[in-house]
């Protein structure tokens, strides 16, 4: 169980942190949420049924919500989900591509928190819609619809702005 948890953490470390960051809006709280979730998971006596990664995502998400409540913070995203441009560490990006990326980041940041969670879990966590539905306690069809609508909206905004 612990070895499996460690493997999940190594594989999904970034996406788990991003999911928590989407909810808390604070990197410190997001780290605390991930840590708290794993503390709980380590205390479990038996392995959960189903896909362990989805279970860990659910635990991190609930822990982030709990962290927010404890800290009584506004759920509005205070810190950005993405790294700053100067911290990207990629110097050979063309200005046009850089502009598109910046615009894309901005558009994703403007999405509601629930849709951002879906995007993080789908694209960065590579979870299936069924697994995301179990994490969010929503039907997979609803999750898929929200995801596709978000992508369509992003495409439309990028096309319009360009």
């Amino acid at each position: 169980m612990l070895a499996e948890l460690e493997q999940v953490y190594r594989q999904h470390r970034q996406a788990l942190f991003s999911l928590a960051l989407t909810i808390t809006g604070c990197s410190g709280l997001a780290e605390d949420a991930v840590h708290d979730a794993f503390v709980r998971l380590c205390g479990m006596q038996e392995s959960p049924s189903g896909h362990l990664a989805a279970y860990v995502y659910a635990a991190v998400r609930n822990s982030a919500v709990d962290c927010c409540r404890r800290a009584q913070r506004d759920l509005k995203l205070a810190g950005t989900l993405f790294a700053e441009r100067q911290n990207l560490g990629v110097a050979n990006i063309s200005p046009a591509a850089d502009d598109v990326s910046a615009q894309l980041r901005q558009e994703i940041e403007s999405l509601d928190a629930g849709t951002r969670e879906i995007i993080v879990m789908k694209i960065y966590g590579e979870l299936t819609f069924d697994e995301i539905g179990r994490v969010l306690d929503s039907p997979p069809a609803t999750v898929a619809t929200r995801y596709r609508r978000a992508l369509l909206a992003l495409e439309e905004k990028l096309r319009r702005d360009s």
Binding site: E31, C42, G43, M44, D66, I108
Partner: protein, 199 residues
């Protein structure tokens, strides 16, 4: 994965600090060495116990759903208590006014006839005993009724107002009843209670 998804995936996410890795790996190692150590942490002890009990069932909502249920139950309980309170509060004045109006009707007719309504007739229309009066045996009630110097100056008849009782008392004793010290029916009842128990 379409083009847009690929573009999103290529965006650089904000990285967690190294401290998170340190904390997590030390946690995982310490858990593998000695699992109860983490459970003894006061902040997480209860949640760890809960997880061990419900590990099969909780996936999506964990403690969030539990708290939501507790809050819902508390809210439902408070709402029910409030509704019951409102219903009782609304019913009480009407019951009280009904009781008083029937009593007033009875006493006014009695005073109009200048006669006391017999106890058996009163008992047929309303309770035989005022709720505030002690439950005395019949022979004690008779004895108290026939002792004008010791007991109450009022007749021993339930639901008689001061005025009605005074008329009968004056008829029996040939004295004038001082109504000024007995302001209302309610006050009269209170005085009668005291006198009846020998006060």
């Amino acid at each position: 994965m379409n083009e847009l998804e690929r573009q999103i995936r290529e965006l650089s996410l904000r990285q967690p600090g190294d401290s998170m890795d340190d904390r997590l790996f030390s946690l995982l190692r310490s858990s593998s060495d000695n699992a109860p150590r983490e459970q003894s942490h006061p902040e997480h002890a209860s949640t760890s116990m809960m997880d061990s009990c419900t590990s099969k069932t909780f996936l999506a909502n964990e403690t969030t759903q539990t708290r939501r249920g507790i809050f819902s139950a508390m809210f439902a309980g408070l709402t029910t208590a409030l509704l019951i309170g409102i219903a009782v509060g609304n019913a009480m004045p009407s019951l009280w006014s009904d009781s008083r109006s029937s009593t007033a009707g009875l006493t006014s007719s009695a005073s109009a006839d200048n006669a006391i309504v017999p106890e058996n007739e009163i008992g047929s229309e309303m309770p035989t005993r005022h709720p505030m009066l002690p439950d005395l045996p019949a022979h004690v009630r008779e004895a108290l009724k026939n002792r004008p110097g010791v007991g109450s100056q009022f007749v021993e008849s339930s639901y008689q107002s001061a005025i009605t009782g005074a008329a009968h008392w004056e008829q029996q004793n040939g004295e004038v009843f001082n109504v000024a010290t007995h302001v209302s029916d309610r006050r009269f009842d209170m005085c009668r209670d005291c006198h009846r128990v020998g006060g």
